[in-house]
């Protein structure tokens, strides 16, 4: 029995009447319409800052923070969207950010899910303690060990190059933690039967665990991608040469010591959000792809 995305009936959250999926009635249609309305208003409210960013990117610099707030630009500066490409190296920044985000994501997902399998499916002494140690490092604030880490990286000749950021982000404990938790929800019986069938652990990982954990992998990928994309402090310390700058770094060059091109900063920020929003919108159904046919009966 193939199941595709199937409904989990809501639990009356936000006071929205739960539309019965089987017998649409007039009342439930009104309820559904109302539900949509509420959702639409909520969505608009949630995206308010983004709208402000968008509108500000079309203003003159000194109007961005005019008091009182101006939502609609007094003068429309559409050429900001041209300026940012020729006045600034937006193309280079975009390219760098993309390369880094993809590299870090791929590495995090691969090594993370790999290690998570070890933590979740194989029993060896000290496993749980080591796992706890992993999670514990998430508890140390990065600002605290930023400098010793920078010194270490410099000694390893790892600073001022893309490898520094990749090394910094790709081996975190977060991915391991997330994947391991997800694996816990996959029944052990699958592993047992595969082992009995003679499959090696690596085979089980590749053929069973990975495909089953698509939603988690999709989530981890997106989260890692976004985190790397928006990362500011890391590149600030490690990527000094202008040809290595990411978008967040590049936008800072619009802030000089005594002045700032606020409108251009907003333009860059809008352009920075768009790729992610698009990727998300296109890929978000993978987060809710149902469990495929693997004979998973309750």
């Amino acid at each position: 029995m193939t199941t595709t995305t199937r409904v989990n009936p809501p639990t009356g959250i936000a006071g929205i009447a739960a539309p019965s999926a089987r017998k649409p009635s007039a009342r439930s249609r009104v309820g559904r319409g109302l539900g949509y309305l509420v959702l639409a208003v909520a969505a608009a409210a949630v995206m308010l800052p983004f709208f402000w960013m968008l509108l500000s990117s079309l203003k003159a610099n000194n109007d961005v923070f005019a008091i009182p707030i101006q939502w609609i630009p007094k003068t429309w500066h559409w050429n900001n969207y041209v300026h940012i490409w020729d006045k600034a190296a937006m193309g280079t920044w975009l390219e760098n950010t993309l390369i880094l985000a993809v590299a870090v994501t791929v590495l995090q997902v691969l090594t993370g899910s790999f290690a998570a399998y070890g933590f979740s499916r194989i029993r060896f002494p000290g496993r749980d303690l080591l796992f706890f140690l992993y999670v514990a490092t998430i508890a140390v604030p990065w600002q605290a060990y930023m400098i010793p880490q920078f010194i270490l990286f410099s000694k390893l000749s790892l600073s001022d190059s893309r490898w520094s950021i990749i090394a910094l982000q790709a081996f975190g404990a977060f991915g391991v933690f997330l994947m391991r938790q997800y694996y816990q929800s996959i029944p052990e019986e699958l592993n047992e039967s595969a082992r009995i069938d003679g499959m090696s652990e690596y085979g089980i990982y590749r053929k069973i665990m990975l495909p089953l954990s698509m939603p988690a992998i999709a989530s981890l990928s997106l989260i890692t991608f976004v985190t790397t994309w928006n990362d500011y402090l890391g590149p600030l310390i490690y990527l000094r040469s202008p040809n290595l700058w990411t978008i967040q770094l590049g936008l800072q060059t619009f802030i000089s010591q005594y002045n700032a091109d606020y409108a251009l900063i907003m333009t860059g920020s809008v352009l920075s959000v768009l790729p992610i929003a698009i990727i998300f919108m296109l890929g978000q159904r993978y987060f809710v792809q149902g469990i495929a046919t693997t004979g998973l009966k309750g």
Partner: protein
């Protein structure tokens, strides 16, 4: 297995810290060895990091020095200085390394710690100076300083870099705070412009008069004055002007009259409230440049910004001038007291020995007359004070032409905003907390001051 892991980590940790601890005493021509591709937009340089093999005289063999700077696209002073020096000393090339304007201190600290800082670097403000100095990150340049007559007059701010009788940096730039005022708005309100002899009480009276008059004249947006949200706008004056006041003492009652005046201006609506200014991210460039305030205390760096914004249309075109900042009392009218930190150049002690002479030559250059006039031409207030510099600044298109502005620019006693002491950074941080508490209306002036006294004693002075 567990124990061996622990031991391994212990060793690694010790190794890492040992490496960290040895950062000051080492090695390689910091930064100069790998010309990080794109040592950027500037510098008339052959990316050849040819370290010179030559003797100490800079005027003979080819030398390449590395120097820091920030946001080159909008801050031309570094390229200006590098190019001018190269023109005078063709055998010395200066390679610029770009940093981030807002986070310069963080980046420079990281680089110095890792031994990757350039040969010459700027001290952006005085707060980090003592840390760098006590950490051995600044070369003794007393010989360069000796060639300047220190004390008020020639090289403003030089003494701020003196520790234990030795000088560790040379200032090339010294901004001071003055009072910017909008002549057109004064005329509209019918209030006489500042005459250079105001006390703070005069200032408050005039600000309130302006606010009422401008509203009556139909101007809805303009207020008498604008105080930016920085702590220095109030504390800097209190500390520099009140006789006997000290940043590093433990009695901050001298702040009281200054805060009371600011709170009065706020409550009478003569200036934008702190809460509105900070939550709406008011920018001083917009407040004065768009004529929302008739007067504004600000640093002299704003002269260049205002001129360029008026030229580009980001600011309105109106007549403006600068006047001496209001004083504590009339005794200092002839030599107004204000505050400001110098920006200086220092030499990284890890520099290659053969380059030291060239580096010192450069430092000597940046504090001198030629550099000063080059800087003045791009609107920077150099540390070197002279009539010629004042002339140059005010000959820029759009600059005020009245005598008071020119007099203001060259007549002042500038005290450091951050007096050099190992407690300064910590104390300023504490005072900033109290500043936001007072101005946001969360704490009364008296309780904030007593909290400041207490906290400074416990958290700074007793450590």
């Amino acid at each position: 297995m567990k124990r061996s892991i622990l031991r391994g980590f212990g060793l690694a940790a010790v190794a890492a810290v040992a490496l960290a601890g040895c950062s000051s005493s080492n090695n390689s021509g910091s930064g100069g060895s790998t010309p990080t591709s794109g040592g950027s937009t500037a510098a008339s340089s052959a990316p050849s990091s040819a370290p010179s093999s030559a003797p100490s005289s800079a005027s003979e063999a080819a030398v390449t020095l590395t120097m820091s700077g920030w946001t080159f696209s909008t801050t031309p002073e570094f390229k200006t200085l590098a190019d001018a020096f190269h023109a005078a000393h063709p055998n010395v090339t200066i390679q610029l390394k770009e940093y981030d304007a807002k986070n310069y201190d963080t980046q420079m600290t990281a680089d110095l710690a890792a031994g990757k800082a350039p040969d010459i670097y700027e001290l952006k403000n005085l707060q980090d100076f003592i840390t760098y100095q006590s950490g051995g990150q600044l070369m003794d340049v007393s010989d360069v300083a000796a060639s300047y007559s220190s004390g008020p007059g020639k090289l403003s701010g030089l003494d701020d870099y003196k520790v234990d009788g030795k000088y560790y940096a040379i200032p090339y730039r010294q901004d001071s705070w003055v009072l910017f005022y909008n002549k057109d708005l004064f005329a509209k309100a019918g209030v006489p412009v500042p005459d250079g002899k105001w006390t703070w009480d005069d200032f408050v009276t005039n600000a309130e008069k302006l606010t009422t008059a401008l509203k009556a004249a139909g101007d809805k947006d303009a207020l008498g004055t604008y105080f930016h949200s920085w702590q220095s706008v109030i504390q800097g004056f209190a500390q520099s002007q009140t006789p006997g006041a000290s940043v590093t003492g433990d009695d901050y009652s001298y702040l009281k009259p200054y805060y009371q005046r600011a709170l009065e201006l706020q409550s009478k609506g003569a200036m934008l409230s702190f809460n509105t200014a900070s939550t709406q991210k008011a920018t001083y460039q917009a407040e004065f440049g768009k004529q929302n305030a008739a007067m504004m205390p600000m640093g002299t760096w704003y002269i260049a910004t205002l001129l360029s914004q008026q030229a580009s249309g980001d600011a309105d075109k109106f007549n403006w001038g600068i006047a001496p900042i209001p004083q504590y009392d009339s005794s200092t009218f002839s030599n107004p007291v204000t505050f400001g930190d110098p920006t200086g150049m220092a030499i990284n002690p890890a520099i290659d020995k053969s380059k030291v002479a060239a580096a010192k030559e450069f430092l000597s250059f940046v504090g001198g007359q030629d550099a000063a006039s080059d800087l003045a031409k791009i609107g920077i207030t150099p540390a070197y004070v002279s009539d010629q510099v004042t002339q140059t600044i005010f000959s820029a298109p759009g600059a005020p032409t009245d005598d008071l502005s020119k007099w203001t620019f060259s007549n002042h006693t500038t005290k450091p905003e951050n007096p050099v002491s190992k407690y300064t950074q910590k104390i300023q941080s504490i005072l900033n907390d109290e500043h936001t508490a007072i101005m946001s209306g969360s704490k009364s002036v008296d309780s904030a001051i007593s909290d400041a006294d207490k906290r400074v004693k416990n958290e700074a002075l007793n450590q």
